[in-house]
Every structure is written in structure tokens, then in C-alpha cells.
């Protein structure tokens, strides 16, 4: 028997790895560069904000003016009949609210008189701010407003809508802009007072002006009750939307939300020097 075995010797050309090395070096450099930027971001969280916010605020301001032009053009072409119907509906709504507002005005005056008798007069002034960025642009439930330290804004100043709806407080101040943390920021805990009983509880922010609070079942809270924040200035914080009671639980879950739509707000008032009182 004849066996035949043959060994073939293969010769491969040595592959040039210059390209590969260059690619790896570039990857390493890119990763190191991004890593360095990230370290700066971790150590100095406001470094990039101070750099980018002035540029971003210019972009947001131009966006608002462009949208304003288109909005006005849109209103010109909208149907007159629709406007008439809308007008009538709004007139009816105003008439209903007027009577309630009169009563509220009287109560507000009385409240302020009582506070002044007791020497608790709010001494700060309100600064109007235009909202440059709002949720859902911001994942963190924050506003960027166009007033900053040059307008007398300081960290901790309370922020209102329509002068009465308390929304949040100023968390960071830059030259011509400020960042407002809404009380409804996910996970933020705020003390609140429920309705006329003024039972105090801790409310947890759920984003977009929504809150959740837990109270003992025995506490009388109804849907539509007003919620306030422990603060000297007359204001409203939220309205009870839903109450869920579980028969196996001694606590009731109360869901409430701010009486304004955060996504549609254009202006806010910043109460300066609010920490002084």
C-alpha cells in the first residue's frame, strides 16, 4: 500500500498594520478627549452651562420671534366663524369667573391687611422673565428664563405664574439667564398644606406640574381642594385632581397638579429677595 502525503508550504504576505495602528490611536485619543470633557463636567457642573447658555439663549430668542411671526400669520387665516364661537364661549367663561374673582380679591385684601397688622409685609419685588426653554424640551422639569444676576435674581427666589401660582425656585443664576427648578421635578420633595384644614404633608414631584402625596385616610381632602406652600405671600400651589383609597391601606394617595400648563407658559414672575423674609 502506498500512502502519499504532501505538505504544502503557504507563504502569506505580511499585512501592513500601519492603518490599524493609526485607527486605534485615533480611537484612544477620541475616548480620552471625551473622558476629559466628562471629568470637567463632573467637577465643574456649571462650566459648560456658562459657555453654552448665552449661545443657546440667542437661539431660543430667535425661535420665539420666528414662531411669533408664523403664529400671527396663522391667526389671520383662521375662520371668522371659529373666532366668533370662541369669543362667545370665552365671554361666558369670564362672566362666571368674575364673580369668583371679586370674592377672592376681597379675601386677598383682607389677608394682606391682617399680615401688615402683624408686621409680615412682603418686601420683595417681582421681576418678569420670559421663558426661553420649558418642558418637554427639558427632561429635568426646569425653565431657563431670560433674567439673571444683572436683574437682581438670586438663588432661592420663588417663581410664580400670573403672580399667584407658585411654580418653583431659582436654582442657578448666570449673567442674563437663570435656571428655575420646578417643584414638580421628578423626585423633588416639597412640604405642602392641604385645603382649608392646612394639613401638612410631603409631596413628591412627578414631572410636568404633577405631584403625589400620601395622607392618613381620616384627613378630609376632596377633589378640587386648593394646595398651598408654607410661604407668607398669598398664592396657590396646586389643585387636587384624584384621591385613591385602598381598603387595605391606612394612607390615601392624593394626586394633584399645578393649575397652569407648564408647556404653554410664556412668562413668569420672579419674587426677588424672597429669602430675606
Amino acid at each position: 500500500m502506498l500512502t502519499c502525503s504532501s505538505k504544502t508550504k503557504m507563504t502569506y504576505l505580511r499585512r501592513s498594520n500601519v492603518q490599524q495602528k493609526k485607527g486605534r490611536a485615533m480611537t484612544a485619543a477620541a475616548i480620552m478627549g471625551v473622558g476629559l470633557l466628562f471629568v470637567i463636567h463632573l467637577i465643574f457642573p456649571n462650566f459648560y452651562a456658562r459657555m453654552f447658555l448665552p449661545m443657546a439663549s440667542v437661539a431660543w430668542k430667535s425661535e420665539a420671534s420666528v414662531l411669533g411671526i408664523f403664529g400671527r400669520l396663522g391667526s389671520l387665516v383662521s375662520s371668522k366663524y371659529t373666532l366668533l364661537v370662541e369669543n362667545q364661549r370665552l365671554q361666558g367663561e369670564i362672566a362666571i369667573r368674575d364673580s369668583g374673582a371679586l370674592l377672592l380679591d376681597g379675601l386677598k385684601r383682607e389677608n394682606e391687611q391682617l399680615k401688615s397688622l402683624l408686621g409680615r409685609v412682603p418686601s420683595g419685588k417681582d421681576v418678569l422673565g420670559i421663558i426661553l426653554s420649558r418642558p418637554p424640551l427639558s427632561f429635568y422639569d426646569t425653565f431657563i428664563i431670560d433674567v439673571g444676576s444683572s436683574d437682581g435674581i438670586a438663588i432661592g427666589d420663588k417663581v410664580y405664574s400670573d403672580g399667584t401660582v407658585l411654580l418653583g425656585d431659582v436654582s442657578e443664576v448666570f449673567g442674563a439667564t437663570a435656571r428655575v427648578s420646578l417643584f414638580s421635578m421628578p423626585g423633588r420633595i416639597v412640604p405642602v398644606l392641604f385645603g382649608s384644614s392646612t394639613v401638612q404633608a410631603q409631596a413628591v414631584g412627578r414631572g410636568g406640574g404633577n405631584f403625589e402625596a400620601r395622607l392618613p385616610v381620616g384627613v378630609d381632602v376632596k377633589e378640587g381642594d386648593a394646595i398651598t406652600f408654607p410661604h407668607i405671600r398669598s398664592h396657590i400651589f396646586g389643585i387636587v385632581e384624584n384621591i385613591s383609597v385602598d381598603s387595605t391601606d391606612s394612607l390615601q394617595t392624593i394626586l394633584f397638579k399645578a393649575p397652569v400648563n407648564m408647556h404653554q407658559l410664556q412668562f413668569v414672575e420672579v419674587e426677588t429677595e424672597s429669602k430675606a423674609r
Binding site: 478627549g33 466628562f38 463636567h41 462650566f47 424640551l137 429635568y140 442657578e172 423626585g187
Partner: protein, 82 residues
């Protein structure tokens, strides 16, 4: 495509809702090889909008998401070809 994604992500960080930035960042990571810039966009969004109290106490959600998206996309891209 890289330049197009860069421009889109800058615009989305400034003008689009946050939930639109998520798929755009993911798409950029998966479609563009080695899209390192995504980490910069994550940091940009955090620096523009985040406060020290952040989201449930964590102020670097977008930076972390960007790094995670990049790492995941790179790992998947090296194993899959299309």
C-alpha cells in the same frame, strides 16, 4: 451622514422635546461608526437643563445615557453586519 447627525442633534438639543432626542441619539450611535460626539451632546443637554438636584437626585442622566448608548451600539455593531 455624520455631519447630518451632528447638525440634527444640536438642533434637537435646543428645540426638540427630550423624547425625540433619545431615538436620534440611538440612531446616530447605530448608524454612524464610532460616533463619539454623542457623549458631548449628552453633556450639552445636561449642562443646559439639569440642576444639581437632577432627576431623582442624579444630574447626569443624559451624559450617562449617551455613554451607555455609545458602548451598546459599538458592541452590537462589532458583532452584527448589515
Amino acid at each position: 451622514m455624520r455631519i447630518a447627525f451632528n447638525i440634527t442633534l444640536i438642533i434637537s438639543a435646543l428645540f426638540f422635546p427630550w423624547w425625540l432626542c433619545v431615538p436620534l441619539m440611538l440612531a446616530a450611535c447605530f448608524l454612524v461608526p464610532h460616533f463619539y460626539e454623542v457623549a458631548i451632546y449628552g453633556m450639552l443637554i445636561d449642562s443646559l437643563y439639569a440642576t444639581p438636584s437632577g432627576f431623582h437626585g442624579f444630574p447626569f442622566v443624559w451624559s450617562a445615557f449617551a455613554v451607555l448608548a455609545f458602548v451598546t451600539a459599538t458592541a452590537i455593531r462589532s458583532r452584527v453586519s448589515w
